[in-house]
Amino acid sequence: MAQLGNIITSAINSISSPGLLFTISSVVFFLLLFKWREWFGKKSSLYIMLGSLAAFIALSMLNDTFRAVVAKPDNVPIVGMLFLLLIFTWLPIHIGNINDKLIEEGKDVLNKKEAKELVFTWPDLVFSEFICSILVTAGLLVWSIVLKAPLEEPANPVETPNPSKAPWYFLGLQEMLVYYDPWLAGVVFPTLILVGLILLPFIDTNPKGNGYYTFKERKFAITTFLYGFLILWSLLIVFGTFLRGPNWNFFGPYEFWDLHKLEVLNNVNLSEYIFREMGINGGKLPDNILLRESFGFILVIAYFVLGPWLLEKKVMPEMAKQMGKPRFFILAFLLLSMASLPIKMVLRWTINLKYIVAIPEFFFNI
C-alpha cells in the first residue's frame, strides 16, 4: 500500500513541471469544451469530478509536504476556490447543453419559460438576499474563529520570507513575472486585462446568448474567456500557491520544499541566439542597442501587425466582416496580447528564451 502510494506520489512529482502541467491542463480544457462537453455537462459528471477532487485532496493530505502547504491558513480559500471554479464552470455548460439541444429542436430556451413567471422584488428577492447575507456573515465569523489570522513577526529587511509570495489573488501575476519583465507582467498586462474586460460589451455585439446560457452559439467568446480565466489566471494562481516553493522553484505537490534545490536556469536572449549561436556578425553583439535588438523588434512588430491581418484575412474572415474593422482590430490586438503569454511560456520551456527584446540598459525587456 505504502509502496503504491510512493509510486503514485513520485509519478505525480515527476510530471510536475510548469510546462507539462500547463500543456496538459490546456489540452484537457479544450477536450472538455469541444470533445467531452456532453459528458462534462451531466450532473453525474459534476459529482464525479467534485468527488475526485475531494478524494485527491483528502488522500494527498497523508503527505506531510502537501498537508503543510494546503492546510496553511493563507491557502485554505484557494482550496475552496477549486471547488467553486468547477461548479461555476459546470453550471453554464450544463444549462447551455440543454439550451443548445432545445435550440436545435427549434424550441424556446429554458429562460424564456422562466421569464414568464416574474416574481416580486420584495419579499422574494430582498428577503432571500437578507437571509443569505446573514448566513455568509455567520460563516465568516466561524471561519475567523476557527482559523486564526496567520500573523507573523514584524517585517525584517535582512530576513525576507522565502518564498516571498503575493496575496493569493495576485499569484497569477507573480507567475507571469517568471516569463515577462515587471513592466509588462506587472503594469501592461493587468491594465490590458482591465481595459479588455471593460471593452468586452462594446466589442462583442453578438445578441445571441443574451439572458440564457448557450455554448454552440458563442463558441469563440466562451472559449476565449474561459481559457483566459481558467488557464491563464486561475491555474497560475494554483501554481503560485501550491507548487512554487523556496527561491520560486517549482515543486511537485508531494516534493519537500528544499531550500537548496537548484534548477538549471540558463536562459538566453533572442539577440544572443541570433548573433552568438548562429554566428551572424561574426558572433559579436552589435554595440548599437537598436541594431542588436532589431530582430526582436521586427518580430514583435510583425506579431502585432501581421497577426491581425492574418486573422482578418485567413483565420476568421466572417467574423471580421460582421464586426467591422475598428472592432475587429481591437479584438485582434487584445487576443494577440493574451496569446503572447502562453507563447512566451512555450518559448521559455522549449528553447530557454529569456527575452525577445532585451535592453537591460533601459530596463526595457519584452
Binding site: V142, E153, P154, N156
Partner: protein
C-alpha cells in the same frame, strides 16, 4: 399585490420566514461564540487560579502570623487599652464639654475663613485692575498718575485693610480651634498610645487580613471581569512592564520593550511562592533578580531581556516558551498544546542557558558577580582559546592562548612538532591543542588524507624554519625525582599544571599545559633553565619564577622528565612527499588573487620554478594561514594577522537561517543545539556535500566533554546584539572600571589558580538537595589549588576576598616585588611566586584592590600609635590572655616542637601588621574573623561583643578591641617588620620600594 400571500410567489413566505428564523439563531449563536472566544483568554484562567492560590496562601500566612503573636503581650496590651478606656470614661463629662466647645469653634473657624477668602478674591481682582492700568507704565519707567490710576488705587487701598483684618480673625479662630483639639488629644492620649501598642503587635496580621480581603474571589470581583463589563475596572487584567530604555528592534523602528509575562507569572517577584507549580513560582534568585532590593528590580529590567521570548504575548505557545529538554517538551505538548513558533526570532532561551544573557549588560565584564555558570563558561572559553580564531569584541586584550613558536626549535625537535600537529592528544590525552588534521570530513577520502599529510609536513617545516636559535645553556645533572615530586606538589605548580601521579583536580582546559608526558617533549637543560627562569626562553610567558634553586631545579627536572609517552616516541615520521606538496600548493595557488584569472599552466609555471624547500615553505605558509595557527601561537611575521573564524560578538542574536546545518538533522532546530553540535564535531556539517578541498570546514576538533559543551553554549547564547541604555544598563563608574582592569591582570597571571579572589562560588541553600554535589565545585572557579588542601585550607594560599580593605598599598606592592623576602606565614610550603609585572599592571592590581575594598587609592598608612606604659601593659595582658602567640609569630621562627605540637607559624607574623594592615580592618577582623576572612582559623573572641576577659578594661569589649589593635600595631611600629629567615630587624626600618630581580632567590 395579490391578496393571498402564497400566490404568485417564487418562494413560499412561510419557508422564507422559517429560514430567516433559523439563520438568525445561527447568527446569534455564532456571535456569542465569537464574544466568548475573544473573551476567554488563557491568562484570565491563570489569574483566577492565582487568586485562589493567593487566598490559600493568605490563610496559611495568617495562621502563621497568629501563632507568631505573643499572646501574653497581646493580652497585656488589650488590658492596657481597656484600662485607659476606663480612665477616659471617668473623664467623660469633661471630654463631652470640650467636644461641644470644639464644634462651636470649628463652625466659627470655617465661617471666618470663608469670609476672608471671599473678600480676598475681591482684593485680588482690585489688585489686578490696578496693576493693569498702572504697572506697565511703571515697569517702563514712566509711571502715570492720571484719574484712572487714582481711582484704581483708591479701590485697592479701600479693601486692603479689610482683608487683613478678616485674615486675622480667621487665623485666631483657627488657633482657638486647634488649642481645643490639643486639649482633647491630651485627654485621650493614653488610650491612643495603648491602642497603638496593641496595633503594633498585630500589624503583620492586620496587613495580611487586608491583603486577603483585597484578593478574595467574590461575585463583585467576577462581575467586574465579565464580558462587556470588563471595560471599566476589571479585576483580571493584563499586567505589563514597559521598559523605555531596553528596546526591541522591529527593523524599521526601535520600540520600548513590553513584557507581559507577569500577567500569568504573577508571583514572580513575591516571596512565599517558592514551592508552587509554574506559572506561580517565585523567581529562584530574588536576591539577585527582580527583588526590590536586588540589583535588578523587576520594573527596571523586566523579563525578556534575560529570558528572551515574545514579551508582548500572553499565550503560552505564542509567547515562545522554549522547553529545557525533550521531556519538558513532551509534557508541554500534552498540557498546553505547545508547538514551536517558527516565526519568532527571539525565542525564549532554555533555562539552562539563561545565565549567559547576563552578558547583555555585563558585556565585557571579566566576571559577573554571582553568575557562577557564566563565569566558568567564560573561563573555559578563554582557556580553550576560542578567541584565537573568533573575534570577540572586548576580548582583544587577552594574550594568545598558546605558547610562542618563535624559538620552538630550541625547545622541541622537528619530529615532535610533526607528531604533535598530527594529533596533539596522541602525545597527551589532556592536551589543550585541538586537532586540525585528519578529521571526519577528510579521513574517509584517500586523496584528502594525502593532501593533509603533505600539509602537516609543510606546516612542521615552516614553523621550524621560522624559529630563532635558542640555547638553554648547560645546567648540571638531574637530581632526585622523589624530592622533585614532593616539591612539585607543595611549591605551587599545581595551581596551573597537572601531572599523572598526582590527583587530577581540574578539567582539561586549565591555565597551563598538562605535564604528564613532558619527558617525551623537552630536554633536561631546557627544562632546568625554564624552571629557574621562564623568561629566559620566552619573555612573554606568564609562568612566574618560584625562586627555584639549582638543586630544586635538578630534583624537579628529574621528576618531570620521568614522565614519558613511549608510544608517542615510538611513532615514526614519514618522509615528506614533495610531489604531493606541489599538488596541494597548486590548489592554493589556483586561488591566489595574484594569479587571477588562473590557469593550470600559470600555476604549473610558478611551482616548477620553485626549489623543493621553497615548495614546502610556501605550502606551509598557506596552510598555517588557512588553519589559523597564528591565532593562538606567535609565529614570526604573522603577529598581526586577523583571526580566521567568524566573529562571535553577536552570535547569540544570529538568525537561525544563517547557521549552516548542512545535511545534519539536529534536534531541536535551534541555535543552542547547533552550538553544541558544532562543538561536538565541527566538521560534521561537511558530511554529505561535494566540496573542493579548500572549501572544507576547518574548525579543529577539541574533543569537549558534554559539560564543557553545555558550559560554552551558555556564553555563546549571551553574545547578543541587544542594546540597552541607562538606567537599565550597567553604568561603568570608576570603581567598576578599576575592578575590571585589575581583574584582567588577575586572570592573565592566574592569581585565581591559588587564591580565592572574588568568591565566585555560590553555595546553594542549606536545604538544597544538590548542595553536597555542588560543594565539590567550590574551587573550580578560583582558588583551584585549595582542592589539594582539603584537610586544612589554611595550609594553602590565603583567600584574598578583603585584601583591599586589609592591607596598605605600599606594603602589598613591596611584598609582591619579592615575596621571598617577606615571608608572612612561616609554615606554608606553597610559595608566592615572583612576578615581574610591568608598572602599569602593578598599578591596575593595586587600584583594583583599593576599589574592591572601598578604601582610598593605594597609598595609605596608619596613623602612628602612641601608647602609655599602662596601655602597653594592658595590651600585653590581653594579648597573652587570648594567646595570640599560639598561632601568630612575633618576629621569631617557630621551633620544630612548636610546629609539630601546635599551630604556631600558621598565622601571619604580627610584626608585619603595622605596615601591612589597615587599622580598621584589624578591628573588624577581631570583631568577626569569619566575615573578613571566610574559613579562617582565627577564633572570634568577642562573639556578639561579649568579652572573653571581663577583668580587663572593665570588661568593655569595644575598648579591648581598640586597645589590642593598637597594641599589635605598636609591636610592629617599635620592632619593625622581620626579614625572611632573619631575626626581627632594625626598629622602624622602612622597606625599600625597589624592584628586585625576579628569578633569582
Amino acid at each position: 399585490m395579490a391578496n393571498n400571500p402564497n400566490e404568485d410567489r417564487f418562494y413560499k413566505p412561510n419557508r422564507l420566514i422559517k429560514a430567516f428564523a433559523i439563520s438568525s439563531i445561527v447568527m446569534l449563536v455564532v456571535t456569542l461564540w465569537m464574544v466568548l472566544d475573544d473573551f476567554g483568554r488563557d491568562w484570565k484562567g491563570w489569574q483566577l487560579e492565582y487568586f485562589r492560590l493567593q487566598n490559600k496562601k493568605y490563610n496559611e500566612w495568617i495562621t502563621e502570623a497568629k501563632s507568631g503573636i505573643d499572646e501574653a503581650k497581646l493580652n497585656e496590651a488589650k488590658t492596657n487599652v481597656a484600662e485607659t478606656d476606663a480612665q477616659l470614661k471617668n473623664n467623660s463629662k469633661q471630654k463631652e464639654a470640650l467636644e461641644k466647645k470644639l464644634v462651636a469653634l470649628t463652625t466659627r473657624s470655617k465661617n471666618t475663613l470663608t469670609k476672608y477668602q471671599t473678600e480676598k478674591a475681591v482684593f485680588d481682582v482690585r489688585k489686578y485692575e490696578y496693576e493693569a492700568v498702572y504697572g506697565h507704565d511703571e515697569a517702563a519707567g514712566h509711571a502715570k498718575h492720571g484719574p484712572k490710576q487714582e481711582a484704581a488705587k483708591k479701590k485697592l487701598d479701600g479693601i486692603f485693610e479689610k482683608v487683613m483684618a478678616l485674615r486675622n480673625i480667621a487665623n485666631s479662630a483657627a488657633t482657638e480651634k486647634e488649642n481645643k483639639e490639643k486639649e482633647i488629644a491630651l485627654l485621650v492620649a493614653a488610650k491612643k498610645e495603648a491602642e497603638k501598642q496593641q496595633k503594633l503587635l498585630t500589624a503583620k496580621l492586620d496587613l495580611l487580613e487586608v491583603g486577603k480581603k483585597n484578593a478574595a474571589i467574590s461575585v463583585e470581583m467576577l462581575m467586574r471581569s465579565a464580558p462587556m463589563l470588563d471595560m471599566a475596572s476589571p479585576t483580571l487584567k493584563l499586567q505589563q512592564i514597559v521598559l523605555p530604555t531596553i528596546r526591541d528592534d522591529v527593523f524599521f523602528a526601535q520600540v520600548p520593550k513590553v513584557d507581559r509575562c507577569i500577567t500569568c507569572h504573577m508571583a514572580i517577584d513575591k516571596v512565599g511562592f517558592e514551592n508552587e507549580a509554574q506559572p506561580f513560582r517565585t523567581h529562584p534568585r530574588l536576591d539577585v533578580m527582580l527583588g526590590a532590593k536586588s540589583p535588578h528590580p523587576i520594573e527596571k529590567v523586566g523579563c525578556t531581556v534575560c529570558h528572551d521570548g515574545r514579551g508582548s504575548a500572553t499565550h503560552f505557545t505564542r509567547s515562545a516558551h522554549t522547553p529545557a529538554n525533550p521531556e519538558q517538551q513532551k509534557s508541554w505538548e500534552k498540557k498546553y498544546d505547545w508547538h514551536e513558533q517558527h516565526h519568532v526570532i527571539e525565542k525564549m532561551v532554555p533555562l539552562q542557558y539563561t545565565e549567559g544573557k547576563c552578558r547583555v549588560c555585563h558585556r565585557n565584564s571579566e566576571y559577573v558577580p554571582k553568575a557562577e555558570k557564566l563565569n566558568s563558561s567564560v573561563q573555559l572559553m578563554k582557556a580553550a582559546g576560542c578567541y584565537g580564531c573568533h573575534k570577540i569584541e572586548g576580548w582583544q586584550h587577552i594574550r594568545k592562548p598558546a605558547p610562542s613558536l618563535k624559538r620552538i626549535k630550541g625547545k622541541v625537535t622537528r619530529d615532535w612538532v610533526y607528531k604533535w600537529i598530527k594529533n596533539p592528544r596522541n602525545f597527551n590525552q589532556h592536551a589543550r591543542m585541538p586537532a586540525s588534521f585528519l578529521q571526519s570530513n577528510t579521513i574517509n577520502n584517500p586523496q584528502f588524507v594525502a593532501y593533509q599529510e603533505a600539509e602537516m609536513q609543510a606546516v612542521t617545516d615552516f614553523v621550524v624554519a621560522n624559529s630563532e636559535d635558542y640555547s638553554p645553556g648547560s645546567h648540571g645533572s638531574l637530581g632526585n625525582a622523589e624530592r622533585g615530586k614532593e616539591l612539585f606538589s607543595t611549591v605551587g605548580c599545581l595551581a596551573c599544571h597537572q601531572i599523572e601521579g598526582i590527583e587530577r583536580k581540574m578539567g582539561r582546559f586549565g591555565m597551563a599545559p598538562d605535564l604528564s608526558t613532558v619527558g617525551s617533549k623537552v630536554s633536561k637543560d631546557w627544562l632546568m633553565q625554564w624552571l629557574k627562569n621562564p623568561k629566559h626562553y620566552w619573555a612573554g610567558t606568564v609562568m612566574p619564577s618560584l625562586r627555584i634553586t639549582d638543586g630544586e631545579a635538578a630534583d624537579l627536572s628529574a621528576y618531570l622528565l620521568s614522565h614519558k609517552n613511549p608510544e608517542f616516541e615510538a611513532q615514526t615520521v614519514p618522509q615528506a612527499d614533495v610531489e604531493m606538496q606541489k599538488t596541494v600548493l597548486k590548489l592554493y595557488l589556483a586561488r591566489d588573487p595574484k594569479l587571477a584569472p588562473v590557469t593550470r599552466e600559470k600555476v604549473d609555471e610558478v611551482v616548477n620554478k620553485m626549489q623543493s624547500h621553497e615548495v614546502t615553505q610556501a605550502l606551509g605558509k598557506n596552510a598555517v594561514m588557512r588553519y589559523g595557527c597564528f591565532g593562538c601561537h606567535e609565529i614570526k611575521g604573522m603577529e598581526t594577522m586577523a583571526t580566521i573564524g567568524p566573529e562571535l560578538t553577536e552570535v547569540g542574536s544570529k538568525p537561525l537561517n544563517k547557521f549552516d546545518f548542512g545535511m545534519q538533522h539536529i534536534e531541536p532546530h535551534a541555535n543552542y543545539a547547533w552550538f553544541k553540535a558544532k562543538l561536538t564535531n565541527p566538521r560534521q556539517f561537511d558530511h554529505g556535500f561535494v566540496k573542493e578541498y579548500l572549501d572544507l570546514l576547518r574548525m579543529p576538533l577539541y574533543g569537549f566533554l558534554e559539560p564543557d559543551k553545555e558550559s560554552l553554549t551558555v556564553s555563546l547564547m549571551g553574545f547578543t546584539n541587544q542594546k540597552i541604555d541607562p538606567p537599565a544598563a550597567l553604568t561603568v563608574n570608576a570603581k567598576i572600571h578599576h575592578i575590571e582592569e585589575g581583574l584582567r591582570v588577575v586572570h592573565k597571571y592566574n592569581c585565581q589558580g591559588c587564591h580565592n579572589v572574588e568568591e565566585l562560588y555560590q553555595a546553594l541553600g542549606e536545604n538544597d538537595p544538590k548542595r553536597e554535589e555542588h560543594e565539590k565545585d567550590k574551587y573550580n572557579l578560583e582558588g583551584r589549588i585549595l582542592k589539594y588542601y582539603e584537610e586544612d585550607e589554611t595550609l594553602g594560599p590565603p583567600w584574598l576576598l578583603t585584601e583591599g580593605a586589609r592591607v596598605h598599598g605600599p606594603w602589598i606592592y613591596n611584598f609582591l616585588q619579592n615575596p621571598g623576602d617577606h615571608k608572612l606565614r612561616t609554615r606554608l610550603k606553597v610559595r608566592m611566586p615572583s612576578y615581574n609585572l610591568p608598572t602599569e599592571e602593578w598599578n591596575k592590581l593595586l587600584s583594583y584592590w583599593a576599589a574592591h575594598g572601598n578604601v582610598e587609592f593605594p597609598v595609605s598608612e596608619n596613623a602612628p600609635v602612641k601608647l602609655t606604659a599602662v596601655e602597653v601593659e594592658t595590651g600585653k595582658k590581653l594579648f597573652n590572655k587570648l594567646a595570640c602567640a599560639s598561632c601568630h609569630t612575633v618576629g621569631e621562627k617557630p621551633t620544630m616542637a612548636e610546629m609539630e605540637g601546635g599551630s604556631k607559624g600558621l598565622a601571619p607574623d604580627l610584626l608585619h601588621a603595622a605596615k601591612r594592615l589597615r587599622r580598621e580592618w584589624i578591628v573588624q577582623l577581631l570583631k568577626n574573623p569569619q566575615k573578613m576572612v571566610p574559613g579562617t582559623r582565627m577564633p572570634g573572641y568577642w562573639p556578639e561583643m561579649q568579652t572573653p576577659a571581663p577583668e580587663i578594661l572593665g570588661g568593655d569589649s569595644e575598648k579591648q578591641i581598640q586597645l589590642l589593635t593598637d597594641y599589635i600595631l605598636y609591636l610592629g611600629q617599635t620592632r619593625g617588620a622581620p626579614k625572611s629567615g632573619a631575626p626581627a630587624g632594625k626598629v622602624g626600618a622602612k622597606p625599600a620600594l625597589k624592584k628586585t630581580t625576579v628569578g633569582m632567590n
